[in-house]
C-alpha cells in the first residue's frame, strides 16, 4: 500500500518527465506495432496470393514440361490472304487454320489443349499419394479452351480468337486444387454424381463478364456444359474461369504433342503433406519418384513473388524493422538516462530512507516500480499509437501488385490466327501473372503482448540503471549531499 502511495506521488511529482519517458517508449512501441502490423498485412497478402494459386490445402504441386514436337507441324498454325482477286475472282478474304495437321478454312474451331504443361498418367497422382509423408494427392488438368470462328460467306471478317482457362477438377478430392480456394456464391459445387456429367462451375468474374448464371450453358471444346455453380476466388488470384469434372476434361482435351485425347492423363498433381514440416521431405520424395517433373512448394513460389507486394514485404522486413528497433533503442536509452538523472536528484531522499533502515532492495524496487509503471503507461499508449498507425496504413495503403508464377502456366495458349484482319495474336503463354493484392494491416494479440513485454523491458532496463545507482549509495555519502 505504502509502495503504491509513494510510487503514485513520485510519478505525479515528476509528471512531465514521466510523460516524456512514456511518450518516447510509446513512439517506439507504436512504431514496432505499426511495422509488424504492416508486415503481417503484407505477408497475409502474399499468403493470399499463394493460397489462391493452388488452393488452401495444397502444399506441393507437380508439373512437367510439355514434350517438344520435333518434325511435326505446330498444333495450331494459320495463314491469310486478303485483297486482290483470288482464284475464284471473288476478291474476298481467305483464312486457313491448321490444328494438328488438319486444316480448316471455315466454321468454328474449339479446342481444349494443354500446351504449357506436359502430361502425366493419372496413376501418377495415386503413386504420389502413396509416398510416406504425403497426406493426399489429386490430379488435375489445367487447360485452355481456344475458340476461333473462321470467316464464312456471310461473315468475311475474321474475329479475334477467344481463350478460356478451364480446370479439370478431381471431384473426389474437393480440398485440393484451384476450386478448393473458391467460395460458392450461387448454386452448388460438384458431387460424385457429376463425375461424367457436362456440368460446370464458373468463376464469378467470368460469369459477370459473360452474363452467365446458374442454369446457363458454357461451351468447352464444342460441348455445352450446364452451369451448376458460381464461385468467387480471392481477389489476389488469377483463377481458372471454368471448372469441369476431370473425366470430361480428359475426354474433351487434346494432347498437342500427339493430337490424341487426354483420357487417363493429368498435367498437374496437387499434394498435401502430412504436416508442414514434411513439405521438404515430400518434395524430395516426389523428385526421386518423378525425376523429370517440376516439384514446386508454396515457399518456392513465395520466393518467386515479385512486384510491389514483395517490395513492401522487403521494406517492412528490412527498413521498417530496423527503424523500429532503432527508435526503441533510443527510447530505452532516453528512459534509462532520465531515470538515472532522477535518481541522482533523489540521492538525499534515498540516503534518508537508508538512514531510516530501508533495505537497498526496497529502494531499488521503488525505483523499478516507478519506471515499470512509466514503461507500462508508455506501452499502453504505444499500443494505441500502433492501432492508429495500422489504421492509417489501412486507409492510405495502395493496392499492392504481386507478380506470381502462374499455377496454370498462363491462362492463354499461344495461338496465332491469320486472317483478313492480319495476324491475330492470342493470349501469350504467361508463366507469370500479375495480380492486385489488397493489403490489410492488422494488430494481433501476439503483437500486443510483445508491445507490453517491450514496455516492461524498457521500464525494467531504465529502472535497473537507476536502481543500481540507488542501491550503491552509502547512507552517509547520500546524506552528505544534503549539506
Amino acid at each position: 500500500m505504502f509502495f503504491l502511495t509513494y510510487l503514485r506521488r513520485e510519478l505525479r511529482r515528476r509528471m512531465r518527465q514521466a510523460i516524456f519517458i512514456a511518450l518516447g517508449l510509446a513512439i517506439g512501441i507504436g512504431l514496432v506495432i505499426t511495422v509488424m502490423g504492416a508486415s503481417s498485412g503484407v505477408k497475409a497478402a502474399q499468403a493470399k496470393v499463394l493460397r489462391a494459386l493452388y488452393g488452401i490445402g495444397t502444399d506441393v504441386t507437380v508439373t512437367t514440361q510439355p514434350k517438344v514436337r520435333s518434325g511435326q507441324p505446330r498444333p495450331i498454325s494459320g495463314q491469310a490472304s486478303q485483297g486482290g482477286p483470288g482464284p475464284s475472282g471473288s476478291g474476298g478474304a481467305h483464312a486457313e487454320v491448321c490444328i494438328n495437321g488438319k486444316c480448316y478454312t471455315s466454321g468454328t474451331i474449339d479446342t481444349l489443349l494443354s500446351e504449357d504443361h506436359g502430361l502425366f498418367s493419372a496413376a501418377t497422382a495415386a503413386q504420389v499419394a502413396r509416398l510416406h509423408d504425403v497426406s493426399a494427392a489429386a490430379g488435375g488438368l489445367l487447360l485452355t479452351d481456344n475458340r476461333i470462328v473462321l470467316p464464312s460467306g456471310s461473315n468475311s471478317q475474321l474475329t479475334p480468337p477467344t481463350s478460356t482457362s478451364v480446370d479439370g477438377t478431381d471431384i473426389s478430392h474437393p480440398k485440393l486444387g484451384p476450386l478448393s480456394n473458391g467460395t460458392l456464391t450461387s448454386g452448388r459445387t460438384f458431387t460424385a454424381a457429376d463425375k461424367n456429367a457436362d456440368v460446370a462451375v464458373v468463376d464469378a468474374n467470368y460469369a459477370t463478364a459473360n452474363k452467365l448464371k446458374v442454369g446457363s450453358t458454357v461451351t468447352v471444346a464444342k460441348t455445352k456444359f450446364t452451369i451448376i455453380g458460381i464461385v468467387s476466388q480471392p481477389e489476389a488470384s488469377s483463377p481458372p474461369e471454368v471448372y469441369i469434372p476431370l473425366a470430361r476434361a480428359q475426354a474433351l482435351g487434346t494432347d498437342p504433342a500427339t493430337g490424341k485425347s487426354m483420357k487417363g492423363d493429368v498435367n498437374t498433381v496437387y499434394v498435401t503433406a502430412a504436416s508442414a514440416s514434411d513439405i521438404g521431405a515430400v518434395q524430395k520424395e516426389i523428385e526421386h519418384l518423378l525425376p523429370h517433373a517440376t516439384v514446386t512448394s508454396s515457399s518456392d513460389l513465395a520466393s518467386q513473388v515479385t512486384g510491389s507486394a514483395a517490395s513492401a514485404a522487403k521494406l517492412a522486413g528490412d527498413l521498417g524493422k530496423w527503424l523500429a528497433v532503432l527508435v526503441l533503442i533510443a527510447a530505452f536509452a532516453v528512459a534509462s538516462l532520465l531515470t538515472m538523472a532522477a535518481v541522482a536528484r533523489r540521492v538525499p531522499e534515498f540516503g534518508t530512507l537508508k538512514a531510516l533502515g530501508w533495505r537497498s532492495r526496497r529502494i531499488v524496487s521503488q525505483v523499478l516500480g516507478e519506471s515499470v509503471t512509466t514503461g507500462l503507461i508508455g506501452g499502453l499508449a504505444g499500443v494505441g499509437l500502433g492501432f492508429v498507425g495500422v489504421a492509417i496504413i489501412d486507409k492510405i495503403a495502395p493496392k499492392l501488385s504481386a507478380t506470381v508464377p502462374s499455377a496454370s502456366g498462363g491462362s492463354g495458349l499461344p495461338t496465332q490466327t491469320a486472317g483478313p484482319g492480319g495476324v491475330f495474336a492470342g493470349p501469350a503463354a504467361a508463366s507469370h501473372a500479375t495480380v492486385a493484392v489488397p493489403m490489410s494491416a492488422s494488430v494481433t494479440a501476439g503483437v500486443i503482448a510483445l508491445a507490453v513485454l517491450l514496455a516492461l523491458c524498457g521500464g525494467l532496463l531504465a529502472g535497473s540503471f537507476g536502481g543500481w545507482r540507488a542501491a550503491r549509495l552509502r547512507p552517509a555519502a547520500a546524506l552528505a549531499r544534503v549539506a
Binding site: 505504502f2 538525499p348 534518508t352 531510516l356 533502515g357
Partner: protein
Amino acid sequence: MDITHQSVPQPETALYRLAGVSKIYRKGGQEIPAVRDLDLEIRAGEWLAVQGKTGHGKTTLLQLLGGLDRPTRGRLEFGGHDLATAAEARVRKVRASSFGFIFQTFNLIPTLSAQENVEAALIPLGVHHAERRERVRAALDSVGLGDRARHVPGELSGGQQQRVAIARALVKEPRVLLADEPTGNLDEDTRDEIIGLLDTLWRERGLTMILVTHDTPIARRAQRIAVMSRGRLSIRQDTRA
C-alpha cells in the same frame, strides 16, 4: 544476542563504547582524518551535546554513532556489539529499530504527507498497516501536528517540518535520538520551541540523545558537552549525577 531487541540498559550502563575510533576519508590519494583516536562512553538515557567548528568531525561522529558509516579504525560498540565490524544487514536492522535521526534540513520526502513521512520510518520494521497508522497518529499528536497529518512538507513551515521529522524519529520508539543541527534552519522562536520539545521528549521517554549543535545555549541544556576539534574530542561540561 539480538542487539535490536535488547532490554533498555540501566542508567549507569554504557550504551555506546568507543575505543580508538578513527575515520579517515581518502580523496585524490590524500588522507583526510575526520575523527582521530576517539575514546568515548555514552550512557543510556544521557543527553550529549557535541559542539565544534564546521569540518572538525561533528557530523562524522554522529554518522558513526548512527551506523550510517563505519570507522576506519577502532571499536564502536553499541549495546555490546561492535558496529564497526557487524554485517551491513545487522547494522541496518539496528538503524531501523534503535536510532532516530533528526537532520538540519529535515529530510522529509517532499511527495509524501506528514503522516506518510512518519509512516516511512515503520516500513523497515514490518509493522502492520493498522498499527502503523495508530503509531503515526500518536507520534504526530506528541509533536502537536495531529491536525496537519495530510499536509505535504511544502505546505508546512520550517518548524512544523522539523516537528514531523521528530515524529518520524520517535515513532519507532528508538533507544537513541541523533540530531544534527536540528535548529540550524529555524528562527529563534521556533528553535526554542523545537529544543523545548526535544527536552521534554528526552525527559519523558528516557531517550539517549546526541545532539550536534553550534548553539552554546542549546548545548548547555545537555548533561555533557563534547567539543570536536580537528577530529579529536574533549569533554567540556559534565553535569551528570
